[in-house]
Symmetry: C2
Subunit: 390 residues, 2 copies
C-alpha cells in the first residue's frame, strides 16, 4: 500500500505570480480543491468520473498562486473527506514522519504528511469535523480551521456545508502567519489576547498523558496573556456536542453525496459507506435534537469568547493511533476524537492547533479558539508562543 | 467497463479425468468456488487478500473434473454474492447475449453469461436468494437451485449458510441433465411428475407480459402431467416471505462477513455495503418475526409439495432490466425479484428455471419446484419439456 502524500500519476507544478508575499514558498492542495485542467479526485476512484475536469482553480489555490507560492502537487485525502484518521482504502495512508507506523490523521492526511515531511511549506486542507485540526495535532504542525463562512469555498468539494471550512498547515509559526495573511486577507495584529480560558472539561476528557504533555505549552501561554481562568467548554457535556455533530454531519453529507451515490453506486471503503447509510437512516427526531444542541453550543461559545478572549484545550485526546487497526477498535477512537472536535463544526469559531508537545513520543497539539472572525488573533498568539515573547 | 464473463488475468484451464460421463464438455466456475492454486476472488478486490490461495478444489469443481469435464475459467460474480442483477462495480457487467444492454442477472452473472455466449457448456453458480435462478431467467438458460443441504459446499465461499446452495447452468436440457446426474449423484428418473400446481399468486405478481409469455410453456407442462390445479404459493403473502428473506439473509451475511469487514475495512460498492450495514442494524424483534415467517413458509411448501407433485411459477416477474440504472430505480426492481425468489432461501426446496419464453423480446424463465430431495424429478421434467414427450 502507498504511503505517499501526493496523488499517483504525473506531477503537478504551477508557478506562483512573481514578486508576491509568498514568493519562494511551495504549497500543496488536498485533492478536494480544484486545480484547472486536472480532475478533482476527492479520494475516491469514482468521484472524478462524476465530476468534469475543472477549468478554474479553487479560490484558495488561486489566492496562494496570486500571492507567489508555487503549487507542487495535490495530496491524498480520506474519501470525499469522510474520515478522521487518514487511512484511504484506495490511495493508502500517507506517512506520519513524526510517528512512523501511526496514522497521519485525516481527512487532510496527505497535506499534513507533505508539510511534515518537508516536501512543501504550506498545504491546503479542509475541516468539517476536525480534518485539519486532527492531522495538525498528530503530525506536529500548525493548522487552522478558520471561522465558518469566512473564506470563499468556490472550487472546494463540499461535504456538510453548515460545517465545511478551508484550512491550512505549516511547520513554523512564521510561515503559517504568512499564509494566513494571504488566505484571511487580513494583516496579523500586534496585540496578543487579553484573557485566556482553560477548558477544564476538555483537558479532563483527554488522556492524562496528553493533558500533562500540553502543560508546558499552556504555562507559556498563561505567561503571555494578562488574565486567565478555568471554565467548562460544554456545561451540558462534550458528549452531547459530539453526538449532535455526529448526527448532523452525516445527514448533511448524505444530502451532499446522495445524487452521486444514487447515480453511480460508487466504490467506497465499508466504513465510509456505513457512515453515509447511517446518515440517510437518521430519524427526524434525532436531527431536531441535534439542531437544538447546536444552537446551545453556539450560544455557549458566543458567551465564552468575546473579542480579546481565547480558549485553550487539547486538539485531540491522544496522539496518533497505530495505522491499520480493525474497525471495532477504531469506533471508540473516532468517538473520542469527536469529543474534542465537535465544537468546530457546531459553532464555527476559529481554532488553531499549535505543535511542540509530545505524548509517548508522538505529537499532540494545543488548540486555541477565539471569537468568530478573530482568526488573526489566534495566528498572532501562535507567533508569540513560538518566539517566546508577546 | 469490462463485460467479459471471465475474470481478468491469465486463463485457467484444467483437464477433466479421461473417460468420464462429462467427457467432451467444458465448464466454468463462479469465482466463489476454490480452484487449487488460484486465489478465490469473490468478486471483491479485498477478498483474496483476506483468504489464502486454496490448495484443493471446491467439492463441486472436483466432482465435474472427476466426471471428465474440462475447467475453462473462473467467472465474474457480484461482490461476495451480494447482488441480484450482475453489475459488479469492480469487475463490470458480463454481457447478456440474449438481451444486449440489459443485465445478465446475478450474483452468478459471469457463469450465466459464459454459458449463454457458448463459451462453455456448463457453469457452476451459487444461489442464496436467487443467484442462479435470476440469471438463468434473464439469460435464457436452464438453471437449478438444488435442495438446501444436499450438496457438499466445501470450498464454496459462504454468504448466508441457512440459504446457501451450489447450482449450475446449461443451455439445453440434455447437457443440463448430464451435469445434474454428476452433481446430484443420482440418475435422472424415467417418470414425470403426477401432479402440477400452478401458483396463481406468483403468476399474478409477475408483470402481465411475463405471465402471458410463459403460458405456452405452461400449457406444454400441463399436457405432460396427469393432473393439475391452481393454488396459492404463499397464502400469507409473497410480500411477507420477501420481507422475511430480506431480513434473515443480510443478518446472516453480516455474521459471515463481519470478521473480514472489521479487520480489512474492504472496498465495496455503496449498495453492497449498505445491505450489510442494514443487516447489522436489524432489530432482534424483526429477526424473530422473520424466523416465524420462515417456519410458516417451510410448512406451506411441505404441504403443497408431497413426492410426485411439482409447482410452476415465473422465475422472475419480468425479463432483464436495463444495465446501469440508478440506485433508486433498482430498489423496487430488487424487491420485486425477491417477491418471486424468497421461497428458495426460506424453505430450501429444489427449483429449476426453464428457458424458452420471451417477454418484450428478452428471456424469462418458468420455474418448477418439488419436494425436498426431488431435484432429479425436476430435471426429468425439463428433459420432457424439451423433447415434447414424457
Amino acid at each position: 500500500m502507498r504511503n505517499d502524500p501526493f496523488l499517483p500519476g504525473p506531477a503537478i507544478r504551477i508557478a506562483g505570480r512573481a514578486g508576491g508575499p509568498l514568493s519562494g514558498l511551495s504549497f500543496a492542495a488536498k485533492d478536494l480543491f480544484d486545480v484547472a485542467g486536472h480532475p478533482t479526485g476527492g479520494g475516491n476512484p469514482d468521484w472524478a468520473a462524476h465530476d468534469p475536469t475543472p477549468s478554474r482553480h479553487a479560490w484558495a489555490v488561486q489566492a496562494l498562486l496570486d500571492a507567489g507560492a508555487e503549487l507542487v502537487g495535490k495530496t491524498v485525502t480520506d474519501e470525499v473527506s469522510l474520515g478522521i484518521l487518514g487511512e484511504n482504502a484506495f490511495d493508502g495512508t500517507p506517512l506520519n514522519p513524526a510517528a512512523p507506523g501511526h496514522v497521519p490523521g485525516g481527512s487532510s492526511s496527505g497535506s499534513a504528511s507533505a508539510v511534515a515531511q518537508g516536501l512543501c511549506d504550506i498545504a491546503l486542507g479542509t475541516d468539517t469535523g476536525g480534518s485539519v485540526r486532527v492531522p495538525a495535532s498528530f503530525c506536529g504542525l500548525h493548522g487552522i480551521r478558520p471561522t465558518h463562512g469566512r473564506l470563499d469555498l468556490t472550487g472546494m468539494l463540499p461535504q456538510a456545508p453548515s460545517s465545511d471550512t478551508t484550512g491550512w498547515f505549516a511547520r513554523d509559526a512564521a510561515t503559517f502567519a504568512r499564509a494566513s495573511e494571504v488566505l484571511l486577507q487580513e494583516a496579523i495584529p500586534d496585540a496578543v489576547p487579553m484573557r485566556l480560558i482553560v477548558a477544564t472539561d476538555a483537558f479532563g476528557f483527554a488522556e492524562p498523558e496528553t493533558a500533562a504533555a500540553l502543560q508546558p505549552l499552556l504555562d507559556r501561554l498563561k505567561a503571555l496573556v494578562p488574565d486567565w481562568r478555568e471554565d467548562l467548554l460544554a456545561p451540558g457535556g462534550l458528549t452531547a456536542w459530539a453526538r449532535a455533530q455526529r448526527t448532523l454531519q452525516p445527514v448533511e453529507a448524505w444530502e451532499t453525496f446522495r445524487p452521486w451515490i444514487e447515480t453511480h453506486n460508487p466504490r467506497m471503503a465499508f466504513s465510509v459507506a456505513r457512515g453515509l447509510v447511517l446518515g440517510a437512516a437518521t430519524p427526524e427526531g434525532e436531527r431536531g435534537w441535534a439542531a437544538m444542541v447546536r444552537q446551545e453550543a453556539r450560544g455557549r461559545l458566543r458567551h465564552l469568547l468575546p473579542p480579546g478572549t481565547i480558549l485553550a484545550m487539547p486538539t485531540t485526546p491522544f496522539p496518533a493511533p497505530k495505522a491499520g487497526l480493525p474497525l471495532p477498535v477504531l469506533g471508540p477512537i473516532r468517538d473520542a476524537i469527536l469529543g474534542l472536535c465537535a465544537q468546530g463544526g457546531l459553532a464555527g469559531h476559529p481554532q488553531i492547533s499549535i505543535p511542540g508537545s509530545l505524548a509517548d513520543g508522538r505529537p499532540v497539539g494545543l488548540s486555541l479558539l477565539a471569537a468568530r472572525g478573530a482568526d488573526a488573533l489566534l495566528v498572532r498568539t501562535a507567533l508569540a508562543l513560538e518566539s517566546g515573547s508577546p
